[in-house]
């Protein structure tokens, strides 16, 4: 757990609008190799801006006034992500860090088959692959996420919400990244499908060993799946600790407020 993968130091994001907004303020955190880091906070707290910002996915008027983002690659080299050229950054994304988004219906292309969309990843990032190699890789991905190769010609609308989310996960794993950022990947799913997807993610992590940054406002869910949890509020991380410490020994008042926002399912009646 002491093996760092991504080090973020004093990182800020400002939206340079008429009244500038400091969406992320002096955030420092480290994602370790193989861990699940939960990022919790309410809408507008800056959690998605932070995740996009470190990958330089934000467009103007967003600017990064300060901070550093260092990637510690599995091959032993350190990469300063804020100094990479746009082309190098483009090649870095998805190869090293991929994402799973919340709305699979809007993130997937409705007029392309899921097979074609998965093949796209290889066409762009692995131009040396032949068509047959791409197809074989797509078939393998569909099997890995248990959608099944028979669905290679299906369109997104022909799949259930859970299956569409599995396609998103397949796409994120296509290049065997070292980090997968999951932004509310199960929020729109009902509780049974959500559990099925979480089990899938756990199994795939055991198989491939990638780290996960899991973003959600659902703190009970994060407590179950995270090694550590960062609590974010108004652009700042107010507390970061192991899941057990966040649950048993929350330090910050805001963490306590968030915990008390969820009634207990099976404990004595009352609020956590």
């Amino acid at each position: 757990m002491s093996d760092p993968l991504l080090s973020v130091r004093d990182f800020s994001v400002r939206y340079e609008t008429a009244a500038p907004v400091d969406a992320v303020r002096d955030v420092s955190l480290t994602v370790h190799r193989g861990e699940v880091l939960g990022l919790a906070g309410e809408s507008g707290c800056g959690k998605t801006t932070l995740a996009y910002g470190v990958q330089r996915l934000l467009k103007p008027p967003a600017v990064i006034p300060g901070g550093s983002v260092t990637w510690h690659d599995a091959d032993g080299t350190d990469v300063d992500l804020l100094a990479l050229s746009p082309d190098a950054m483009r090649a870095f994304r998805w190869d090293k860090v991929s994402m799973v988004f919340q709305g699979a219906m809007s993130a997937l292309n409705p007029v392309a088959t899921v097979g074609a969309q998965l093949a796209d990843v290889f066409e762009v990032h692995r131009p040396g692959m032949s068509r047959a190699e791409r197809t074989a890789a797509v078939v393998e991905l569909l099997e890995i996420v248990k959608v099944g190769a028979a669905r290679i010609k299906s369109y997104p609308h022909e799949l259930s919400g859970g299956m569409r989310q599995r396609i998103m996960i397949a796409m994120a794993l296509a290049l065997r990244p070292q980090l997968v950022v999951m932004d509310e990947p199960t929020t729109a799913l009902d509780v049974l499908v959500q559990r099925e997807i979480l089990r899938e993610i756990t199994g795939l992590r055991e198989a491939f060993g990638f780290s996960v940054v899991f973003i959600t406002h659902d703190l009970p869910l994060l407590l179950e799946i995270s090694d550590r949890i960062a609590i974010m509020r108004a652009g700042q991380i107010v507390e970061i600790d192991t899941a057990a410490n966040i649950w048993f020994r929350p330090q910050h008042d805001y963490t306590k407020t968030l915990l008390s926002s969820f009634p207990r399912l099976t404990a004595e009646r009352g609020v956590a």
């Binding site: 509780v191 049974l192 959500q194 703190l219 609020v271």
Partner: protein, 265 residues
């Protein structure tokens, strides 16, 4: 004392080219004033169809809905009067309020239509209702887009309460709100329920809040009632495999950390 009885209700939707879908099959339960029933189940289990049938937006294919022993009206002035007795709070406070109208209009209109207060007292009653849902009187001239999601849902509750209903159907009333606001809105609903002796049907997929705010819980699966009992019995001592499955799937840090500690020993 008012009671609405759903007796053996089934609802079949015909789907062009795909036969039919049995959205509800032989559903029965009684909701009385003074009582909160939680209705849980996954997407497509029929929860919202129950709400639509209670409000007469849909009619049952078979079975009956009785208000104090008499079939609920299906049209005209009698249906309008019925809908003042049974009110609804919807999931999406961004869609359920009219963006062109002020908050005053949203609350005053059901007051005017129902005639529960004389015209000269409407304005005072609007303020009283906004105060009940803990909204500042200053919101009265604002429009929905100027309010937060939590404030809008409070307006929706004030609007529902305006004709002094006996029963309230709340279909996922907090699932679109930020987590830190949810308990506040549910606690408000619960206080009003107790003060007015309302009968509340709380429709949700969230087992934890269903247990916390309900006297009884009904579990729906594929249009059928698979379990119905006291909230604690259903959640703590589930009898039906589907209820157990729902419970196991719901995040529960309490149980999780107990299990984790047990596993480490």
């Amino acid at each position: 004392m008012t009671a609405i009885e759903v007796r053996g209700v089934s609802k079949t939707y015909r789907v062009r080219g795909a036969g039919s879908i049995d959205a509800l099959q032989d559903v029965s339960f009684t909701l009385s004033s003074g009582q909160t029933i939680g209705m849980v189940g996954q997407s497509g289990s029929g929860k919202s169809t129950v709400a639509k049938i209670l409000t007469q937006m849909e009619r049952p294919t078979s079975g009956q809905v009785l208000l104090d022993g008499r079939p609920i009206p299906t049209r005209g002035a009698a249906l309008r009067a019925y809908r003042q007795q049974l009110r609804m709070v919807f999931q999406d406070p961004f869609a359920s309020l009219n963006p062109y109208h002020s908050i005053r209009h949203h609350v005053a209109r059901p007051l005017a239509l129902s005639g529960v207060v004389p015209p000269e007292e409407v304005d005072a009653e609007v303020h009283r209702l906004l105060d009940r849902v803990q909204l500042d009187a200053a919101v009265v001239d604002r429009r929905p887009h100027e309010l937060s999601g939590g404030q809008r849902q409070r307006v929706a509750i004030a609007r529902a309460l305006a004709p002094r209903p006996a029963l309230l159907v709340a279909d996922e009333p907090v699932s679109m709100l930020d987590v830190s606001l949810r308990m506040g809105v549910l606690a408000l609903l619960s206080d009003i329920q107790a003060q007015d002796g309302l009968g509340v049907l709380y429709i949700t997929h969230d087992l934890a809040t269903a247990r916390y705010f309900s006297d009884e819980i009904i579990v729906l699966n594929q249009g059928r009632v698979v379990e119905h009992g006291s909230a604690d019995d259903v959640i703590l001592r589930p009898q039906h495999p589907y209820t157990r499955e729902l419970r196991e799937a719901s995040p529960d840090p309490e149980r999780f950390f107990v299990d984790a500690a047990g596993g480490a020993r």
